[in-house]
Subunit: 77 residues, 2 copies
């Protein structure tokens, strides 16, 4: 199985969701990307269809918005 | 690991998220509850802190609201 990608921006809601997702699907099955720090990956997240963080993009390309930490506009600033 | 519980109400967003979650965390690790049909489990979902469906309650009791299908008020009707 290819990996999921978990996009977040370091917010408390993001960190809590990250811990839950890593526990549920396993550390080896998910790549964590902090688009608050790694800002050159913001366009990639937008292209994937992410509207808010935290969000998980599945190996098949579906976007699961998980709870609500910040909108993409908030992240872009 | 004890199981997560995925609460949904049969809506298209719910069904799509259910497929993704089952693929990601494995069929054996999640119990699926349709509170649109199994209405006597609505109070249990509310007590868990669920505000909208679909939502996943982790084994540690955290609620992950995944995308947005319907509010609990919509489900209660």
């Amino acid at each position: 199985m290819s990996k999921s990608i978990f996009y977040h921006a370091g917010c408390p809601v993001c960190v809590s969701a990250e811990h839950d997702i890593v526990k549920l699907i396993g550390n080896d099955n998910v790549t964590i990307v902090n688009i608050g720090e790694d800002r050159n990956r913001i366009p990639e997240a937008q292209n994937a269809g992410i509207q808010s963080v935290p969000a998980l993009v599945t190996p098949t390309g579906n976007v699961l918005h998980i709870n609500f930490g910040a909108s993409m506009n908030d992240v872009i600033g």
